[in-house]
């Protein structure tokens, strides 16, 4: 019976390690993307501010916009419905991969519900790079609601 227990645990550990290697997704800002030379096709989460004036809508719900972290910007392409509180100038996190042309093809876009807030990762990254301004949201990282999901996503 102990053998059986060890077997199950062993399998579980193998599964966990294997899954951790293959399925975790890193978070980057546009500046970090440039630094790290992330290869095309590698999935990651891109966070930053939606650059004002960069949002363009195309046919069949195609949208493109730019995500900026103050020192670098990256074009993002997405097809589908953006979350309710997606706004230019606001914080956003997109998940997807770079295409060979260097455009970030997002399949999921997450935006925050409360206008005074931005995603914690984005706030931290901006602070770290010294681009944090108080008017980005005095309540960043402060409380939002309770019991519910305060970040909102759209996924293709």
């Amino acid at each position: 019976m102990i053998g059986c227990a060890l077997l199950v645990l062993g399998i579980a550990v193998a599964l966990v390690l294997n899954a951790l290697r293959d399925s975790i997704v890193f978070f980057s800002t546009p500046a970090m993307v440039a630094e790290k030379h992330i290869p095309a096709g590698k999935r990651f989460r891109l966070g930053g501010l939606v650059e004002p004036g960069s949002l363009q809508r195309g046919e069949h719900l195609a949208v493109s916009f730019k995500i900026s972290d103050g020192s670098a910007t990256l074009p993002v392409a997405y097809q589908g419905i953006l979350p309710d509180l997606f706004r230019e100038g606001q914080g956003v996190v997109a998940e997807g991969a770079l295409d060979p042309a260097g455009v970030f093809k997002a399949d999921t876009v997450l935006a925050k519900h409360d206008e005074t807030y931005m995603p914690k990762e984005v706030a931290d990254a901006l602070k770290k790079q010294g681009h944090w301004k108080d008017d980005y949201g005095a309540n960043a990282g402060k409380k939002s609601g309770d019991g519910g999901k305060s970040m909102q996503g759209a996924s293709r």
């Binding site: 951790l20 995603p119 309770d146 519910g148 999901k149 305060s150 970040m151 996503g153």
Partner: protein, 660 residues
């Protein structure tokens, strides 16, 4: 006035909790009946005062007293009454108050119904409850006082987060907390047993119903939360493997294991030490969940971030209770004698396997939830662990669990006959294989995954029914006798059947929804028709409407199937002015267990509107399964054996002898 009274009642409750923490323990040490009896009265008085405090906060919200910070930040005078009430726990302070109120409720229940418990055990259990309440009262009073006044009372409140203005909030957190906090009782019993250094079958008989009750509420709470997310967030997902969801799933997995190991302990007096450990772990995971959700350490889709003092405070509570109880366990567990030997192939053996798989699955969720946190602390690297991780780890562990599930109830205690059990499952396996073959033919060489998974689900359901048929000797004795046997079966047996079948039902829903779900995202103008999964949906009109505290863009869809109108769907987009936030209100149309789901996107320039339409086959089974499980739990709970509680006096004398 009301705010001050509520605050004062909370302070009084803290005082009572302190007395309850100390006096009964001294009483048990001195074998002083009067001192031990104090636990009962303080537990009831504590319930009274924390209840008053909670009612005071409800009253403040209902009367929109914006001089109280908590009301100002989370309410609005135009908000409908039901959301004024549910808004009480729709924020950090209020939900913590609900947490301790439910804790006091459980303490009160033990005090009321614990008459047939040995006096010293009851005193210890309630004292441990007192420790937990003391910690959380202090937490609320020091860091999260809901009764704080504002110097200058504003005229209007800031309104509740719009996503939370939904009936889901009325039901989900209270159910979840009844589950989370309910496990505190099994924890207190475990710690009390360790303090007393003895444990026996009567102990398990006491712990089981409390665990069962907590488990039942937690099951419903998680299912309700999942359904809420499904219809409220507007993109049709029902489980996100979000850390906050995982925080409730971990105690559920450990609690399910505890439920099963307590059976072994009650019936066979075996697995004692393990059951105690599970009871401690389950509540520790509940506390961990509270920490994760309340401290804001997680970057979560839920993002509950609050200030760090709270986080540090809960972390201290966490360390004290988890560290303390595990230390006590390490120190005292050897004093508990193991009993009841059994062969590996036996009912006990199968329950051990169940525990092994459930706790391992729980551990993988634990790793997936906390690994990003640990990595960030250590290296500063930010990662997210999402669905792919859990699909690769959690799912493979659940397959053997579900394969083994029908065998367990068919094996005898002590020494079972695996071959015999397998033979009795011929019919169930046959049904599963037929299902796989039919589905395989139907999908015509598509992915083999869905037919196999549904076959597994059918096997689990048919296996549960086989157990029932075996017990009433269906087809082996005349039908009326079978019927009589079925009616005479203990309700706990029926409970097992329902709960196990519920797992299978939920799996069918999960597999069908994720495999055959159809999605259409498009832009529609009035009178356009969208075709999804054989349904035709005509957009009739787009109109504006004014709600109490929001304005709303409403669309009407007429749904027809084969030329027949089957319903009208009215998805909308609400704009809440106070918070300048908007929400998407999806419209749902149920066809049997399947659903059509429509939610709105942005209005397009040409007078059209972006819509997202899903057809989700069998989706309702995902939540019907957990409801069946909880119903099974309820049946077990009403079993005469558990209702009566501790064994009859004649047996008690023998059963309560110290195990040393």
């Amino acid at each position: 006035m009301i705010a001050e009274a509520g605050h004062y009642a909370l302070v009084l409750a803290l005082g009572l909790a302190l007395i309850q923490s100390i006096v009964p323990v001294i009483g048990a040490k001195l074998r002083d009946t009067a001192l031990m009896q104090v636990a009962r009265s303080t537990a009831l008085a504590q319930l009274l005062f924390v209840g008053l405090s909670f009612l005071a906060l409800v009253a403040l919200h209902v009367t929109s007293d914006f001089s109280v910070a908590n009301v100002y930040e989370n309410s609005h005078s135009l908000k409908p009454l039901i959301y004024k009430i549910t808004g009480v726990w729709g924020n950090h302070e209020g939900s913590m108050l609900l947490w301790v109120s439910i804790l006091a409720l459980f303490g009160g229940l033990v005090a009321t119904f614990g008459n047939n418990l040995p006096l010293s055990l009851r005193a210890h259990v309630l004292a441990v409850q007192g420790w937990i309440s003391t910690a959380f009262y202090l937490f609320i009073l020091v860091t999260s006082n809901p009764f704080l006044r504002l110097a200058n009372a504003p005229m209007e409140g800031r309104d509740l987060n719009p996503v939370l203005q939904d009936v889901g909030l009325a039901v989900h957190p209270p159910l979840l907390y009844l589950g989370y906090v309910g496990f505190s009782i099994s924890f207190s019993f475990a710690v009390a047993a360790l303090i007393e250094g003895r444990i026996d079958a009567a102990w398990a008989r006491w712990v089981r119903p409390w665990t069962l009750m907590a488990w039942m509420f937690l099951t419903l709470g998680i299912a309700m939360g999942s359904y809420w997310a499904y219809y409220e967030l507007g993109w049709g997902g029902w489980w996100f493997w979000d850390p906050v969801e995982n925080a409730s799933l971990m105690p559920w997995l450990a609690g399910t294991a505890l439920l099963h190991s307590a059976v072994v302990m009650e019936k066979r007096n075996a697995l004692k030490v393990w059951t105690i450990l599970l009871a401690i772990l389950t509540f520790s995971l509940s506390l961990l969940g509270t920490f994760l959700v309340r401290s804001g350490v997680l970057t979560s889709v839920h993002a509950f971030a609050t200030d760090p003092t709270r986080g540090v405070f809960i972390l201290l509570i966490l360390c004290f209770f988890i560290g303390g109880s595990l230390t006590l366990y390490a120190w005292r567990a050897s004093a508990l004698k193991q009993g009841g030997l059994f062969a590996p192939i036996s009912r006990e053996g199968s329950l051990v396997l169940n525990n092994l798989l459930l706790t391992t699955a729980c551990a993988t969720v634990f790793v997936g939830t906390l690994y990003p946190l640990g990595l960030e602390v250590l290296t500063g690297e930010r990662i997210s662990v999402g669905a792919p991780f859990f699909n690769l780890t959690f799912a493979p562990l659940f397959v053997p669990l579900m394969l083994a599930m029908p065998f367990g109830p068919l094996l005898a205690w002590k020494r079972g006959d695996l071959l015999g059990a397998a033979q009795r499952l011929y019919a169930a396996s046959g049904a599963a294989l037929i299902a796989v073959a039919v589905l395989w033919a139907w999908v015509r060489g598509g992915s083999a995954f869905a037919p196999l998974a549904i076959g597994l689900a059918i096997f689990v359901i048919a296996g549960a029914l086989t157990d029932l048929a075996e017990r009433c000797m269906l087809f082996r004795v005349p039908l009326p006798i079978s019927w009589r046997r079925a009616r005479g079966l203990p309700r706990a047996a029926w409970g097992t059947v329902f709960a196990h079948a519920g797992v299978g039902v939920a799996l069918i829903g999960i597999v069908c929804e994720s495999t055959w779900n159809t999605e259409l995202i498009t832009t529609l103008k009035p009178n356009d028709v969208a075709k999804v999964a054989g349904y035709e949906m005509k957009l009739d009109d787009i109109t504006q409407r004014q709600g109490p505290n929001f304005s709303e863009l409403v669309t009407h869809f007429t749904v027809t199937s084969n030329g027949k109108t089957i319903g009208v769907m009215t998805p909308s987009k609400r704009n809440f002015t106070t918070r300048s936030a908007s929400t998407t209100e999806a419209a749902l149309l149920s066809r049997g267990p399947s659903q059509l789901y429509v939610s709105l996107g942005d209005a397009a320039a040409n007078g059209g509107i972006a819509v997202r339409i899903y057809h989700k086959p069998m989706v309702l089974l995902i939540w019907f399964g957990p409801v069946l499980m909880a119903f099974g739990g309820l049946l077990s709970l009403t079993d005469r054996r558990l209702r009566v509680g501790a064994p009859k006096p004649a047996k008690t004398a023998r059963a309560l002898q110290p195990a040393e």
